[in-house]
């Protein structure tokens, strides 16, 4: 099933990280696309932008941000959004994504992806802001489900219901982070499969996969390791519902050599084939 905007399945990609700049330029690694952390390239004229331009000449790219703060009660930062649009145009980004979260209020940025209470009022609030942001960006916004460590007593719906309704009512795309679903499911004691099964498949534009850190009492989304088998299995389950969708492996802490990250990302292929085999069997 294709997503409703016809955003392409870019294949399997990895995040563009400074520690790999040299290796990426010299080796042209066997990945099909790169995801770029938008904020790291907005206000620099130095090496990061130079490398990004070279990468964008050779590979498809998508922008992924952490500071749009779509759920904040502060006004949207229009200057930021205009710079983001300019960067997206410059590198011919296939889409622009950020997170369903807020990062600060009263002009402050905590640089964390803070959770929302899932209420009707929050839904209306975020819906309006998604539409504003999409207008400035001149493209549909794609939002990622965050991993979270707090649940609000006021929430009147689940995160997956909130996300599914937001996608329909604000007409936005979804970046389904399968590891985040797993992390939040452990932290909040819900069944990750229920979450995966409730996401409207034609809204899913991209997948994220990553490793995490298990603290015993909770899991932190650190992007510091290989993905656990349960996350891969959730990915297979999701892929079975959505069909081919661009997939990206994130590794942001204790980043190993480029070939290790690429090899981890390429594991997605086996799960895609398994999902397609199940789907073919079901169709027979």
């Amino acid at each position: 099933m294709a997503n409703r905007w016809g955003f392409p399945d870019l294949g399997v990609g990895i995040g563009l990280r400074p520690v790999h700049f040299g290796a990426i330029l010299s080796q042209s690694p066997a990945v099909e696309w790169f995801e770029v952390l938008s904020e790291n390239y907005l206000d620099t004229g130095g090496r990061p932008l130079y490398v990004l331009d070279r990468v964008a000449e050779r590979y498809p790219v998508a922008l992924h941000g952490v500071s749009m703060s779509i759920g904040s009660t502060d006004p949207l930062d229009v200057v930021y959004l205009r710079k983001l649009k300019a960067l997206a145009d410059r590198v011919r980004a296939h889409w622009v994504s950020d997170h369903l979260c807020w990062t600060g209020v009263m002009g402050r940025n905590t640089h964390d992806l803070l959770p929302m209470p899932y209420t009707e009022a929050s839904l209306r609030h975020v819906e309006r802001r998604v539409q504003q942001a999409s207008e400035i960006l001149e493209r549909p916004l794609v939002l990622e489900n965050p991993s979270s460590y707090v649940e609000f007593a006021a929430s009147t719906m689940t995160e997956w219901d909130f996300l599914a309704r937001l996608a329909e009512e604000a007409d936005c795309g979804l970046l389904l982070d399968v590891n985040n679903v797993y992390v939040s499911a452990f932290n909040h004691s819900f069944d990750a499969r229920t979450y995966i099964d409730a996401i409207p498949p034609d809204r899913v534009v991209q997948y994220h996969l990553a490793g995490h850190t298990h603290k015993g009492t909770h899991i932190i989304d650190t992007h510091s390791d290989h993905a656990v088998p349960e996350v891969w299995e959730l990915y297979r389950r999701a892929w079975q519902r959505t069909g081919p969708v661009a997939t990206l492996y994130e590794w942001d802490e204790d980043i190993p050599a480029l070939e290790v990250v690429v090899a981890e990302a390429q594991k997605a292929r086996a799960y895609q084939l398994a999902a397609e085999a199940v789907a073919a069997e079901a169709a027979r």
Partner: protein, 283 residues
């Protein structure tokens, strides 16, 4: 009170006040900033417990990550300062600094812009404060030069096209990714040993020194300058025509030798410090 009666803005202001509190999360919950919005005893009405953590412990995860993130961000921009101060003092400095200068930008890259000035006036214990101030100024210059606009440097071939008689009126424009600093300590030498990952580092001492920080082929370098070289480079990058700048350079008690002037100029051109040459009108 529950979050359904609490407007979203108030809930967010409360949560932020707790997360960014410089003490423990419990202190944050009971501090006046958060308590004004939600009484400390009512946290359980806002945040659900998990199977393993109390509401305040769950908020505490964000509180702990905020502090780590600030230390990481400033440690990335100020590695030599962190090295000199050691982890404990550096963390204390960061905690105080982000309280006074919290991030108000979409990027962490400029979080440390006020750190040099903050070091001078912070009431906490800073060993060799003047040295730390210089080190921070130098590292801030490095990060600003790293992100500076890319401008092509003047090439040797372009220099050779300038007729000899025109040099007197030549005005040399510096590349955008360039800064000149005058320091009162040996901070530049310390930075050098940290960047080169050496085991031995110089002790802080008072020493007037000048440094040019610049970028070439997307890498940031710094070049030590003698007093005379610093003054000449300062004049040139301020737009003084070469003839006038040279006349000023030799009008001192111990003027530099002609071959030194020639060598400096050649080095500055080859290091890519200038982007263009223009000519002042003939008098």
């Amino acid at each position: 009170m529950s979050a359904d009666t609490l407007p979203l803005g108030r809930l967010q202001r409360w949560m932020q006040a707790v997360i960014v509190h410089p003490g423990t999360v419990e202190q944050g919950v009971h501090a006046s900033g958060a308590r004004r919005l939600v009484p400390g005893s009512r946290v359980g009405d806002l945040v659900r417990p998990s199977w393993s953590l109390r509401p305040v412990e769950r908020i505490g995860i964000y509180h702990g990550m905020y502090r780590l993130r600030m230390v990481d961000a400033l440690g990335t921009d100020y590695p030599a300062l962190r090295h000199f101060l050691g982890e404990e003092t550096f963390r204390d400095l960061v905690r105080a600094y982000v309280g006074a200068h919290p991030s108000r930008s979409y990027t962490l890259n400029r979080l440390g812009d006020h750190l040099p000035g903050f070091i001078r006036r912070w009431g906490g214990r800073v060993p060799a404060r003047a040295f730390c101030h210089d080190l921070a100024r130098l590292e801030l210059a490095v990060s600003e030069v790293f992100d500076g606009e890319e401008t092509a440097s003047l090439t040797d071939a372009e220099v050779r096209t300038v007729p000899p008689e025109a040099w007197e009126r030549a005005i040399l424009r510096p590349v955008a990714a360039f800064q000149r600093l005058t320091l009162g300590t040996n901070a530049a030498a310390y930075l050098e040993t940290v960047r080169e990952d050496r085991n031995e580092h110089p002790r802080p001492r008072r020493q007037r020194s000048s440094v040019a920080v610049y970028r070439r082929r997307f890498a940031v370098y710094h070049l030590s300058l003698s007093r005379a070289a610093d003054e000449l480079l300062g004049d040139l990058t301020a737009g003084t025509p070469l003839g006038k700048a040279l006349a000023r350079a030799i009008r001192v008690r111990r003027p530099p030798r002609e071959q030194d002037l020639f060598r400096w100029f050649r080095d500055w051109v080859s290091e890519g410090l200038f982007r263009s040459v223009e000519f002042a009108p003939s008098v």
